[in-house]
Each structure stands twice: as structure tokens, then as C-alpha cells.
Amino acid sequence: MKTRPQSGLQIDGFTLGDKLHEGGFATIWEVTHPDHATPMVMKVPKILDGDDGPTIVGFEVEQMILPRLEGVHVPRVYGIGDFAVMPYVVTERIPGDSLLLRFRQAPFAISDLIELAARMADALHDLHSQQVIHLDLKPENVLQRPDGEMVLIDYGLSRNDRLPDLLAEEFTIPMGTFPYIAPEQYLGARNDPRSDIFALGAMIYQAATGKLPFGKPETLRRVRPRLWKDPVPPRALNPAIPEWLQEIILRALEVDPTRRYQTAGQIAFDLMHPAQVKVTARGLKLVQDNWRVVWHRWRQMRGIKRFAAPASVQSQIAKAPILLVAVDLSPEMEALADLLRDNVQRMLVTEPDIRVACVNVIKTSRITIDSGLDEAGQHLHVARLVGLRHWSDGIALGDERLTFSVLENTDPAAAIIDYARHNNVDHILMGARGHSTTRRYLGSVSAQVVAEAHCSVTVIRRRSSPAPMPG
């Protein structure tokens, strides 16, 4: 590295302004460029003039991974600097501080906490959908856009499944941030997206209690006890935390990755459907496991070298999809609803970790101004919920993986599309009524959903016998 960053330096069209931050491994500068009006920052590694392996490789990794990411949950890249002159990455500047400062105010009010956690889970799901595992999630690596969306930064320890892992080949010691590092990551694994789920669980724990689930280990050796020692239950630290939320947090913090949430999308889904989270002993407990249980776990875990990792990030996400089934409960559609259920049952065979969100839409009148439910509306809502549950009889799926929602909207297709987008739905299954002239001119709900949904849509239609030829 021949050039050093300083205010006023010009490089590849960028002009450096003030130094905004100086961390252990990099400095962050405000930069401008005549071609880009957006506020931008430049990150320059503090590579010492010696053999500074981890910093160099970490920066190489970030230069490889960051430009390939897209969407609102990652910073947009504007420039990459050559190592021969001065290595750097220029990204858009997200206003405001990282969550590090905000987390000092934890515990948060429950409603704020749910919002924060769900947004972080959404951002993480988006990252995993791009086949990238972050591997260093912590409050200081999360920023929030003015519109509320979370942005995950710092990809120096990350891994893209479609690119070589420069860090894995280089270093045999586990890397990560001790308070948040997952057990399998501590054991050296870098290929399991569920490691990020664990770190997310640790962050939600911290936001909910103001404490770190495993304290602040100073050495790698002190990370190891999380393989057998369970954290203090969040509700013992903050009684305001509901059982269902503790259930979510402790499930994300399970030692064995297969017992955790399998995707971040499923955490977000549960945070948005608290009434339907199935509370187990995990959610109810108020004290840590007794010494016998811990001792038993220690015996199991003391020799463990690794946990089984999924084949790829993509396969892990595909293995635990969220399926939205839009069910029409009107009496004349009963046969179609039965057909829909048969199709769901068939999908359960090939997708054992699937979650099914059963949705029914009440079409409200455009003229009604207030959306508060009147007596009759309330009844209708409950009746539809009961109807949905009845429809689902025979779908062999545990309660916790089957949810029921009744939506209200003047536009049923818009309601379904919107629900799918906000709940990380991977696949929509719905029925289509038969052919009719009116529908051909006015357009059908299913046609609109197929055209506008962000995910796959399967439309089920009953086979109709051909109309007799005229004449």
C-alpha cells in the first residue's frame, strides 16, 4: 500500500473528507465523487507495513463479497481500490449510528424489541437468500435506514457459497466476536448459515434483557462453555418478556444447529405471529438448567469436534420454505378448497421442514371508512379463522408449523401479495375459479397474484369437462 488516506486526498475520482471513525482494523472516511451525489463513505484497512495476514485477507474477502450483494439490507458499493495503490471500499453512507449505541439502552420496550428483531431477521434472511453467511453479526455491524430497514455491514469474516473461502484456507483458528459466536463457528465451521441465527438470537437476548447471554469472554477458551451451559432465561432477567418471545430467543440460541430456527425468515415469521408460537419448556423456564443436566450435556459435548453443516446456504433456505395457502372458504368453492388441501399434503412429503401459513381474505367494501371491526365484522373474522382451522384438519403438521391469518382488504390479491412480501413467503398456493366471461374481462385474483407476487405461485384449478359443441 503506497498511499495513505488523509483528508483532501484524491483517488480514482473520490475526494476524502473528514475521518468519521477509526477502528482496530480500518478507518472510515467521508468521500465525494463528481459522478455520485449520494453521501458515501470509504473504508480503508489499517494494513501495517508487515505481514498483516488477517487484515489483508479480511479486506480481500470484503472486496469480493460486497460488490455482489444487492438490495436494501446491504450498503451499495461505489468503488473498490487497488491493493497496489491503496485498498478501499466506497459504499453509500447510511445516516446515523450502528445499533451499538442503541443497545446500551437495552432492555427495550417489548413492542420496539419485536420490531427491531423482526427487521434484523428480515435483513439476515435477505443476506442468506444471496448465499452469503455473515459470520460476524453484532450490534456494531447493523445500521438502520431512515425508513426503518436494517443494513448489515462489515463482510470481512463472511463467506459467499459461490466463491472460494479465502479465510477458511488461511486460518485454522475460529474467527468471530466472542459474545455472539455460535458453537459450531467456535469449532471452526464457516459454512452454516445457522451460525448467524445464533448470533441474531444473542442480539435479541441482549436487546430484551440488557445482558449478553454468555457474558463477555476475553479468551477463546472461555467461549467453549456455551456448548453445554445454557444462558439465564430472559424472563428471569426481565419479567416483561412474554413466554413466546423467550421461546423464540432460546430456540435461536440452541447449541445444536439442527434444533435452532432453520432460517431467519422463520424467526421473522414467528415474531410477526406471536399468538401462534408454540411455547415449550424453553419458553416457560425461569432458572438455568440444574447441574445434573449441565453435567450430562458436558459429557456429551466435551469431545465434540463439529456439528453437521448443510450442503449449501441455498439448500438450507430451500429446505425450510414458507408456503402461503390462500383458501377461499365460500360454500361453492368447497371442492376447490379440498383440492388445495390435497396439494398441500403432497408438498409436505417432499418438504418436511415447510411452514404453512393458511390465509383467508375478507373482502371489505370500499365505502367503509373506519376499519375498526363492528360486532358483525368481529364475528366474521372469528368465523373465518374457525373455518380455516377446520379446512386444515388432516394436514399433518405440528401446530407450530401451521399458522392461520384472516386478512381484510378491498383488494384480495393485494392483501395476499403484501402478506407474502412481509413474511418472506417462498411460495404461494391458491385456487382459481373456473372460466367465465366476466372473469376474463375483470381479471381474477389468482391472475393478479401470479403477475405481481415476488415469489413462486402455483395455481390450482379443478379440471372441468369441455362444454358441448354448439349445433
Binding site: D51, G53, I56, V57, F59, E60, Q63, M64, P67, D82, F83, A84, P87, R162, L163, P164, D165, L166, E169, E170
Partner: protein, 247 residues
């Protein structure tokens, strides 16, 4: 010049070369560089030589491979199957075709790219690059940022980092890989006409010098047709089996 198609080890396989050239056109490569071994092993040396010559006349570049060199070097160091195949090939090519294949250079340099058939170090010794240790000498003799070679018939990728260590990188077919500028790179391109990595698909590589991305491409071709011709020509049966298995 931005998009280079790098082809190597065509080995007189007409069907594979045709499939690759179609793929090259579809992926809009602007330049073609062929890393040698146009003939040897396969049943269509005349057609492949003429095709490559037409490409070179249209601006493609070609380097010499060991099978091409063996056309005029009876003492060439070849294994028994390769020797039988080259003896079969020799009388099929006319003087102009032979002259065209054998007059090519051992190495080509274009900006920060180096093209060579085998290891860049002692390129006339035809050393196989099959490990990080075997890749090291190429980095030592050349200051090119990216070295492309063939000869091995198995796609591989090696990086040479700032502290001089050479590492083998995982190759994922079809995924664009950024050849980050903090390292130098040695790309072993898979064979067009005789793949040996267990997949009977023709191989080539696309390098985009603006995006600085390398993509290893694989294309299916009509192996049955090539195998039928091989057998009809009386070439060794092991060559036919090899095309079927891609190994």
C-alpha cells in the same frame, strides 16, 4: 478488449469444439485464445485444424501444445495411447495444416495476461500444473497478473497472495469469480475435447477483463457421435471410454 474466451485441449473433437464455439458466441466473448493441443486423441484433426485456422485468421490467438509439437517431432515424450493417436493423425494433415499448428509460439503475453499450454516455467517441458507446489514456478518466472494454461484437462484455480503463498481455490462451474487484484492468479482451463474431471462436458473459460471476473463454463455435446467416429477410425478404445466418462 473485454471478454476473452479461453479454449484449450480441443484434441480433434469436432462435436465438442462446435458446442463450445456456440456457447462462446452466446456469451458474447469478443476475443478467442486457444492454449494448444488442437489435435491428438480425437477423430477430426483436419476439420478442427481448419476451424482453428479460420478463427486465427479472424483474430484469435493460438499457442503451441505438446500434441501439436509432436506432429513434427518423432522423439516427443508421449504415452503409448497418445503416440498411437498422433501417428494416426500425422498422415491426415497436409503440410500446410501441420505447418500452421507447429509454427505457433509457446507463450503469448497480452497486457497483464499470459497464455501458455502447460506450466509457464520451462514451457517446452510440458509440466502438468496439478497442485499449489506445481503452480508456484509459473508465478516465479512470470510477473503476469493472470496466467492461463491448459494441458491438465481438469479446471483448477490458484492464487498467489501478497506474502508469496500459493493456494488452490475451489472451482465452481458457471459462477463468475473475481480475480481480486491483491493476488496473482493461475487459471488451469478445462479441456474442450477430452475432459478428465468426471463430467463428460466440454470445458472452456470466459475472462471479462473489465469486470475482472473469470467463469469456468461447461457445455454438453454429442459424445456418442465422437465416440462412434473414434471407434470407426480404429483409435484406441480407452479414448472412447474416456469421452463417455469424462475422466
Amino acid at each position: 478488449m473485454t471478454r476473452f474466451a479461453i479454449l484449450t485441449d480441443i484434441h480433434a473433437n469436432r462435436e465438442a469444439l462446435t458446442a463450445v464455439l456456440n456457447d462462446v458466441a452466446q456469451r458474447r466473448a469478443e476475443r478467442i485464445v486457444i492454449l494448444g493441443d488442437v489435435v491428438g486423441y480425437g477423430p477430426d484433426p483436419e476439420w478442427c485444424t481448419d476451424k482453428v485456422r479460420a478463427l486465427v485468421e479472424a483474430g484469435a490467438r493460438l499457442v503451441l501444445g505438446n500434441h501439436d509439437a509432436a506432429l513434427t517431432d518423432p522423439a516427443a515424450d508421449l504415452n503409448i495411447t497418445a503416440r498411437r493417436a498422433i501417428n494416426w493423425t500425422r498422415p491426415r494433415l497436409d503440410a500446410a495444416q501441420t505447418e500452421f499448428l507447429t509454427r505457433q509460439p509457446l507463450k503469448l503475453r497480452e497486457d497483464d495476461l499470459l497464455f501458455v499450454h502447460a506450466s509457464a516455467h520451462d514451457s517446452a517441458d510440458w509440466i502438468y500444473v496439478t497442485s499449489a507446489a506445481r503452480a508456484m514456478p509459473s508465478f516465479r518466472v512470470s510477473d503476469a497478473r493472470v496466467i492461463f494454461c491448459g494441458h491438465v484437462h481438469v479446471p483448477q484455480l490458484y492464487s498467489h497472495d501478497m506474502s508469496g503463498r500459493v493456494r488452490e481455490q475451489r472451482v465452481i462451474a458457471g459462477a463468475g469469480f473475481p480475480l481480486i487484484r491483491s493476488r496473482r492468479w493461475l487459471a488451469v482451463v478445462g479441456s474442450v475435447g477430452q475432459p478428465r474431471d468426471g463430467r463428460p462436458l466440454a470445458g472452456w473459460a470466459l475472462y471479462d477483463s473489465v469486470l475482472n471476473e473469470l467463469t469456468y463454463c461447461r457445455v454438453p455435446y454429442d459424445t456418442a457421435a465422437t465416440v462412434a467416429k473414434l471407434r470407426a477410425a480404429g483409435l484406441p478404445e480407452s479414448l472412447a471410454m474416456r469421452l463417455h466418462a469424462g475422466a
